[in-house]
């Protein structure tokens, strides 16, 4: 998977969980714009974990504050995997 594909996939998953159209979710969208609260964040990370076959520790989840953080986290964890 190229990095571009990875980013597209992460954004698509976020859109799916938030029930948004794919084009509504951008890499620099804020959680506020997408209506992502803390439980939504947990739901998105669950989908990312399942889709990319990764595992995100609880402490790390607390540091995720943006879509960019999510993409960066997936990028890092898939490289390690």
């Amino acid at each position: 998977m190229t990095d571009e594909e990875l980013v597209t996939k992460v954004l698509a998953i976020i859109a799916e969980v938030q029930r948004k159209k794919p084009e509504e979710v951008k890499i620099d969208s804020t959680f506020e714009e997408l209506g992502i609260d803390s439980m939504d964040g947990v739901n998105i990370i669950f989908s990312l974990e399942s889709e990319f076959n990764i595992s995100v520790p609880d402490e790390e989840v607390k540091t995720i504050k943006s879509i960019k953080d999510m993409v960066a986290g997936v990028r890092r964890l898939t490289c390690l995997a």
């Binding site: 439980m39 947990v42 520790p57 609880d58 607390k62």
Partner: protein, 403 residues
């Protein structure tokens, strides 16, 4: 309206097999948190829970009887029996007909259900145990108490997640006040430490990896627990007429719904339930000396509850003694309201307020007096117990020392 008093309390918890053990641990600030005994749990992100240790069903039930009851029902009966013994009731047909049983449980017999589902889903077995349905249902605990004590009045179970047993006690309180029954066995029980349920809690990312530190800045979440707490409650006249010794009085109950979010709590909703409980009790905020907080130890609950206490108590909030006993007995979900009501009543009757243990670092957003780490002596007339459930459902009980 008749006054309603508590004449018996029973508790089985991670702090011990009975009320005395519970009281001693609370006073000493001694937690019942240990590694989960189920070996399947080693793969979880958290390893600890507040389990009832060394519980042998055969110590309490004939084996055939025990086979028909999930662990949560067994806990319910054990706690109810202890409460009944303390109340000194001498049962007769009239008493049995005019007594109610109202229990709270959030998840019911999950250990039984888990076993059955494991058999069919994972092991591919063609069948589950035939008693899976009646052992799993959330009213199984209330029904088991009814069978055990022979009570034939109104018997039912309330399920409102982590406020279940506070709502149950509130309902029993209302029924005695209204004259629908003379007495009630009421409280809650839960045995939610099945692998499937623990996986579901793990997924929510609200469980602490090791210990629970309510209201501390360093808190990392809740510790799940199990057990039961039951009370015998009755009208004051009824208690005095049969020569019983009232332990404490239930003076008020307040409920509200946040009407906002399935998991995110609202300070306004919680404050409303507190205010309604005080109004129901006919007391002013500054008459309350102690609050047993919902205090789960999650980042969100503890901040929201602190805000709610500020809203409900105003300037007086800063002089209020507040503690969360969940760091000791764990979050027992549907049993939590009753277990913490028991802790509140013990605080009133003994004059020793249980501490918030594991408190190590103040949080600027949690700025009240949480009785950190060491129990405190204080005599007071009124105390309240907060229960705030997922689903935004709030229930607050107000108690008065019986003098």
């Amino acid at each position: 309206m008749p006054r309603v008093v508590i004449t018996g309390t029973g508790v089985i918890s991670a702090l011990g097999a009975n009320r005395v053990a519970f009281e001693t641990s609370l006073r000493e600030g001694h937690p019942g948190i240990a590694r989960l005994t189920n070996p399947a749990c080693q793969e979880l992100r958290f390893q600890n829970a507040a389990e009832v240790q060394g519980f042998n069903p055969e110590d309490h039930f004939a084996l055939k009887e025990a086979d028909m009851m999930d662990r949560f029902s067994q806990f319910a009966v054990v706690a109810a029996r202890e409460a009944v013994i303390q109340s000194g009731i001498q049962w007769n047909d009239e008493l049995r007909e005019n007594a109610a049983i109202i229990t709270g449980s959030c998840v019911g017999g999950k250990n039984t259900e888990d076993r059955g589902f494991h058999d069919v889903y994972k092991l591919g077995k063609p069948r589950v145990h035939p008693m899976t349905i009646p052992m799993t249902m959330v009213n199984a605990g209330a029904s088991a108490i009814s069978v055990d004590l022979g009570i034939t009045g109104p018997v039912f179970t309330i399920s409102t997640a982590c406020a279940s047993s506070a709502h149950a006690i509130g309902q029993a309180f209302a029924m005695i006040r209204s004259g629908q029954c003379d007495m009630a066995v009421t409280g809650g029980s839960e045995a939610p430490l099945s692998f499937g349920i623990l996986k579901a809690w793990e997924a929510m990312r609200v469980v602490a990896p090791e210990i629970c530190r309510p209201f501390s800045r360093s808190r990392t979440g809740m510790i799940l627990g199990e057990g039961a707490a039951m009370f015998v409650i009755e009208s004051l006249d009824h208690a005095l007429a049969r020569g019983a010794n009232p332990i404490a009085e239930i003076v008020g109950f307040g409920m509200s719904s946040d009407a906002r979010h399935i998991t995110q709590p609202s300070a306004e909703g919680a404050a409303k339930a507190i205010t309604r409980a005080l109004k129901d009790a006919g007391i002013d905020a500054d008459q309350v000396g102690y609050v047993n907080a919902h205090g789960t130890g999650t980042s969100v609950n503890d901040v929201t509850e602190t805000r709610a206490l500020h809203l409900a108590f105003g300037d007086y909030a800063r002089r209020l003694a507040v503690s969360s006993t969940k760091a000791m007995h764990g979050h027992t979900l549907g049993a939590a309201g009753a277990m913490e009501a028991a802790a509140t009543v013990i605080a009133l009757t003994t004059g020793i307020l249980p501490p918030t243990i594991n408190y190590d670092e103040p949080d600027p957003d949690c700025d009240l007096d949480y009785i950190p780490n060491i129990a405190r002596e204080a005599r007071m007339e009124y105390a309240i117990s907060n229960s705030f459930a997922f689903g935004g459902l709030n229930a607050v009980l107000a108690f008065r020392a019986f003098a």
